[in-house]
Symmetry: C2
Subunit: 197 residues, 2 copies
Amino acid sequence: MPRGITAKGLATRQRIVEGAAEVIRTRGVAATGLEDIREATGTSGGQMTHYFPGGKTELLLAVARHEGEQILQEQRPLLDDLTSWTAWLAWADDLVARHERQREHCGLSTLLGQLEPGDLGVRQVLLELFESWGNALEQGIRAMQRAGEMDPGADPREYARALLASVQGGVVMLLATGSSDYFRSALDTWFARLRVG
Amino acid sequence: MPRGITAKGLATRQRIVEGAAEVIRTRGVAATGLEDIREATGTSGGQMTHYFPGGKTELLLAVARHEGEQILQEQRPLLDDLTSWTAWLAWADDLVARHERQREHCGLSTLLGQLEPGDLGVRQVLLELFESWGNALEQGIRAMQRAGEMDPGADPREYARALLASVQGGVVMLLATGSSDYFRSALDTWFARLRVG
């Protein structure tokens, strides 16, 4: 991003990024050109160059960051306060229900669809997303163990990573089959494993 | 497929399907036209119409079935004989290693890339794939429980489904991050959960 950008400039840039994200969610990244995004967001060629001097690559990376933030944002505040079984179950229900509604408009599949082999920018966004997401789950597991509500023998980091992999798999299988059965089985099985008493 | 097709005809059809699968794995389904597949497989327009009267839709469905079969075939014979911890660990190692090699040429991501909203044909192929795959894992868990090697308290069907979701998630995260860490964590954590003694 250019230095010395104004607050108004930032808002404009953000508006372009959000508009681009929506176009890409609908049409897919391969079928979306800069021209389409300019049209959908009412942005002139000059503005586009001003805000994204790196062109489509820079804009797509900004979209990826935006999608990554959205994925975590949508899970808040539950994700940051997984300190009771009520909170864990509400988080899980909310996650499954949202993906049932979104289907192919899922932000993560958009992100993955953007990933070209060797695309280090988007890959970095994905790594950071999974890292933050996993950390939040790990904090939740630790809180539950302290409260005596989850098995103290479960390694919080390993279980958080494994649970996160199940979430990704559950989403993929929901998109693939149209049913959330596998998603729910995966989450319920983890919870049953971790529950104490 | 037309009735009364000869063995030679079946072989030709299969050759077209396999060639098409390769082109699609490399270029992606959106960027692949019937023309590209004809060129890559040396198939005339007349032959194409003969073997796939339903056009691209029919050919893509045949490719999806082929990819689905391949995904299970690649895991055999291990997948059908998960009767010892040695077999389970070999199956898991082999699965992770193959996906590390294949990366974006993974057959399942090709299948998912083909899935258009409302595409009931490809969705059916995916449902059957997950069903067969899950059944094989379930049989393995049952065999291990009978042998006293896996926790008899674990519901074989639920655990098979949850394990399968972890596999899908592990693959997605490997494709996304370039690392198999999450994939391995997920599998190891399930195995540790199920192991007796």
